[in-house]
Symmetry: C2
């Protein structure tokens, strides 16, 4: 079989150190599971700004377009926070990757790990066993809509504008991903918007309803206003199976859901494009957590979210479900054994560094 082509974009902050643990797992897979990964590496975010003056240069983008999957660490940090020029912010590199690769479906599992039930600020019985899949639209909405910008309107006044825009096909393709996932899970989709206030949300609701009637009437579909969704997530999270929502609501609701789990340092994500003629999708995998500049470079970060993102890559980009499960199981066992990085440390557990967490997982493997 052809070599599996991966592009590593470690990015900023703790990105490089958590990605290093993925390298180790890949080495192990090459040796013990007879795989051949071709791993190239590039710069994105602040690291790319420092090196090239832009958060994503053309060569890196070309490479990202050429590989089977991109593994991203994290971008951003106070060093690059100030510029008001959007094209010069670390986030712009991430947004450009999403847009140029056409990664319209962002899959964010909000899962509670048994060993970490007590790490949440929510009561254990509310979240134990929680397993929600949030599907966030990732290449549309207010993130990319035009017109946008800040203009002087006289008298010392300025005006800031962004545009929320969705089309029928943008809505249908991401809703389709949600329905397909639901069929493999508990067959229930909640679609969230503000159709009571926003026409773009009303279109969202109408198109999701239509697609459901046409092709997915076997799946249970419920519509919920996004503000109510933010409440229901807290009130009774286990009512949800798959949630599909737009780029901006998805940003907020998925962060709420992931913090609820108490397992933020454990949560992976996958961003997928449309299948091509051979059924292959462009894809990028990254942890849900950010670049955590405060602990960067100190071997403190939790590499599990990034390792689990790699497991998602094995599953979604390379059809290696068995190997994905091996990694997931190894992580569960290590947690079960009491190993904890600082972010998930609890009384009676063994506190360990990024590297030692990696060691332990490799030993399990």
């Amino acid at each position: 079989p052809a070599n599996k082509k991966l592009l590593f974009l470690p990015g900023d902050g703790i990105g490089p150190e958590v990605m290093r643990q993925v390298r180790r797992v890949i080495d192990w897979m090459d040796r013990k599971r007879g795989m051949t990964f071709d791993v190239s590496e590039g710069l994105v975010g602040g690291a790319a700004i420092d090196a090239y003056g832009v958060p994503l240069n053309d060569a890196t983008l070309a490479e990202a377009l050429a590989v089977d999957a991109v593994m991203l660490g994290a971008v951003g940090g106070p060093k690059w926070d100030n510029p008001t020029d959007y094209t010069k912010r670390p986030e712009a590199g991430l947004l450009a990757l999403r847009k140029e690769l056409g990664l319209f479906a962002n899959l964010r599992p909000a899962v509670v790990f048994d060993a970490l039930v007590d790490a949440s600020t929510l009561k254990a019985d509310v979240i134990r066993g929680l397993d929600i899949m949030i599907v966030r639209e990732l290449t549309g909405g207010v993130y990319f809509g035009e017109p946008r910008g800040i203009t002087d309107i006289g008298n010392g006044e300025r005006r800031g504008v962004n545009t929320q825009v969705y089309t029928t096909s943008e809505i249908r393709r991401v809703a389709r991903v949600a329905f397909e996932l639901a069929r493999k899970r508990n067959n229930k989709v909640h679609s969230m918007e503000k159709a009571n206030v926003m026409e773009s949300g009303l279109l969202w609701r109408q198109e999701v309803t239509k697609l459901h009637q046409e092709e997915y009437s076997d799946v249970t579909l419920e519509h919920m206003y996004a503000d109510n969704g933010a409440m229901q997530l807290l009130k009774n999270p286990k009512q949800f199976d798959v949630i599909v929502t737009d780029n901006l609501f998805g940003d907020i609701l998925s962060d709420e859901a992931s913090m609820m789990t108490g397992s933020l340092g454990m949560l992976p994500s996958a961003s997928l494009g449309a299948p091509d003629a051979d059924g292959k999708r462009k894809a990028m995998y990254e942890p849900v957590h950010g670049s955590a500049p405060d602990i960067a470079g100190r071997d403190l970060a939790n590499p599990c979210a990034t390792l689990l993102s790699f497991a998602m890559a094995l599953r979604y980009s390379f059809d290696l479900d068995e190997d994905a499960k091996l990694i997931e199981k190894a992580i569960q066992n290590v947690l079960g054994g009491g190993m904890r990085t600082a972010d998930i440390m609890a009384p009676g557990m063994a506190r360990c560094s990024t590297t030692v967490m990696g060691d332990s997982i490799l030993r399990e493997l």
Copy 2:
């Protein structure tokens, strides 16, 4: 002194039954505290659609503009959910009131009542004593921005558009309310937006920073991305004192915060306009909860949020702080005595109806 003019807009669902309890408290104040409230009543939301074909008619709006304060119950319900004509939805009545009265500052306290600490899905020690004031911008942003709408773009495709727009003065006036409130509380303001993605959020951040430097440098100001805000609220809610944010983020974050308290049926809100030459502000007071059509008309709803909204009216519109405190204290005592409507019922407490809750509060008074 002149009579105090109030317009009651009970609205839909449980609105009328919770507002009835406010009537009783007003009667008591007229009799026992020597007040003279002139209370008129009108229709809004679904009730107004049924009666007049529109969710807010001109006469009711004129009355709302003429009184000292509006007391609103709740609007909306499945009966009026279907129309895709935005001007014919119950919510349109509420939005028109906010806009026409110029109620740009929506104050939503997220407070945990001692007696209800265990009602939250969050751990008691995380939320005990929580007291956050969320200031939500209420007359701008994506709720009112133009252009908006749904258009056919050919090939069976439609396009839904909304516009997020803020100007310098819109941002400054609501930030001012937040800073002023913080000075009377714990002197800390968190401003939330997505300045890393949206220019309107960047303008927000810049203008809040400028106003802070010019006039409120004694107040601690922190900026937070709204997605991080959604996480931090869950992680460590007590880090917050006053939060100021835009209309849409405020909708979601304040709902998240209020559900966190476990006291949703207890939370009031105030929506305020700019002070006129005499320092008087147009104002509307309403519970944070919705119209709860499922329990409407069954004497089950919790009237406390609406009664506490009336207490806010006494405080903000009539400068009757002492009387506001009387009502707040009466409610606390009744809760302390074990009375609970269904929404806050807990083992060992006495379950009661809307009316009996009202009776008990009046007895306390």
